[in-house]
């Protein structure tokens, strides 16, 4: 499994360029705020269309402007944990977790809701609504929802930037476990160097 990504997107007078060619399990997109890191993730997820380029994960080509390939988001099998989480407010935690799970083909599912809840320590939260969760709890639910959708890789957008120190350590440990125990390749966005050293990620610079 590897990331082979090259893309450009021009919006107004701003051009976002990214080149990620890596066999590493964890690739970190590093750069200042506003450099277009989230846009790169959106393009990999299929939510934003690059002007030109090619996006391949493993042997699967998700986008190729030259070959006219552009898979819709629902066929890319990426577990995207958004910076703003985007938990569904009208569904309980359990229903949020099951949303992607129920849509994933059986052969791609690698964990059950109970397992994920235990792994993430969110079992006591299952009946709650997202509104009533703390920042760290909501972050873990969002990660769980992505894991249960049977992803082939994960996109994590600043997953710890809004958390206090103890929660931050907790989630970073969790991400290391996802990488090591579940073996999912991860693209990780951050603007904090300490997270990079802690996770031992391969770094791709975005912007200046």
């Amino acid at each position: 499994m590897s990331f082979d990504i090259e893309l450009t997107l021009t919006r107004g007078d701003r051009t976002i360029r990214a080149r990620i060619a890596s066999e590493a399990r964890l690739v970190a997109l590093f750069g200042p705020s506003g450099a277009g890191k989230t846009s790169v993730l959106d393009m990999v997820a299929g939510l934003l269309r690059p002007d030109t380029g090619r996006i391949a994960v493993g042997r699967e080509v998700l986008f190729d402007s030259a070959a006219g390939v552009n898979l819709p988001p629902e066929r890319r099998a990426c577990g995207y944990v958004f910076q703003d989480l985007r938990l569904f407010p009208h569904r309980t935690v359990a229903e949020n977790l099951r949303y992607g799970e129920s849509l994933a083909p059986h052969e791609r599912r690698f964990m059950a809701v109970d397992e994920a809840a235990a792994f993430l320590g969110i079992a006591p939260l299952l009946a709650r609504r997202p509104r009533s969760l703390s920042g760290g709890e909501a972050q873990r639910v969002a990660i769980g929802r992505a894991l249960l959708s049977g992803p082939r890789f994960l996109l994590l957008d600043e997953p710890v930037s809004s958390l206090d120190r103890p929660r931050r350590e907790e989630i970073l440990t969790l991400i290391a476990r996802i990488r090591d125990e579940l073996g999912l390749p991860i693209v990780y966005v951050t603007h904090d160097e300490r997270e990079l050293t802690q996770l031992g990620a391969e770094v791709v610079q975005i912007g200046d």
Binding site: A45, L47, P73, R76, C78, Y80, F82, R86, P89, Y99
Partner: protein, 229 residues
């Protein structure tokens, strides 16, 4: 209490309003969707057209309907040729007039609720494996539902009160197009009709009140605090 004839008027009013609102809902939803989400170039014009019945004198709306759906009108003549039906002086015509008058209110309410749904939630649903239709049905629609219900109730209440366009378009035919407001108007013209007027007026107030309370109950049950009242 109401006489049998007056109950008939109430039943006719309810039928006309229910049919008007039921048939308008899909159109109102589609228009609200286009106005809320699309980047159509002529959106401002479409918006103005939809809202026209709200500001044009109802008698003008009724006259325009008469021009379009009358025996010589383009749509009326076609309906007669193709299906052998006419809406002139029929309760279906009253429903059509009510529908046109209710449309702007329904579009407004549904549009507001659709605009309040964060498209980023739909994007999240797509990355979790949902196609566009499933994302719409499982995320957008439930989140917009209180507004859709509010639009239904508003449209229903507006239909119950519809007068000007109806009497201009399909006249005041007892048992066919004579809904509550038209019956009240007719009774006012008759010497000694005051008690009928009072009974029908109280009935229409109660019906409108019931519609609003029903919408409030529905909004509370949906549990997200989107209230009409």
């Amino acid at each position: 209490m109401l006489s049998a004839e007056e109950w008939g008027i109430v039943a006719l009013s309810l039928k006309v309003s229910a049919v008007a609102v039921g048939l308008t809902l899909p159109l109102a939803f589609a228009l609200a969707w286009v106005l809320a989400r699309s980047r159509l170039p002529g959106k401002v014009l479409l918006d103005a057209l939809v809202h026209l019945p709200l500001v044009v004198p109802p008698v003008v709306t009724g006259w325009l309907l008469l021009l379009a759906f009358g025996a010589q009108g383009p749509i009326g003549a076609w309906l007669d040729r193709a299906f052998g039906v006419t809406v002139m002086f029929r309760w279906t015509g009253a429903a059509l007039a009510s529908a046109v008058m209710a449309l702007p209110l329904m579009v407004r309410a549904i549009r507001l609720s659709l605009e309040a749904v964060d498209p980023r939630l739909e994007a999240a649903a797509r990355t979790l494996g949902a196609g566009p239709w499933r994302a719409f049905a499982s995320i957008t629609l439930p989140l917009a539902l209180p507004g859709v219900l509010a639009g239904l109730v508003l449209g229903f209440a507006r239909s119950l009160g519809e007068f000007g366009a109806t009497i201009t378009f399909v006249s005041n035919v007892p048992g066919e197009t004579q809904t509550l407001p038209l019956a009240i108007y007719a009774a006012l013209q008759v010497p000694g009709g005051e008690s009928t007027v009072a009974r029908l007026a109280v009935t229409s107030v109660l019906l409108s009140l019931a519609a609003l309370v029903a919408s409030e109950v529905l909004a509370r049950r949906s549990g997200r605090g989107a209230h009409v009242l």
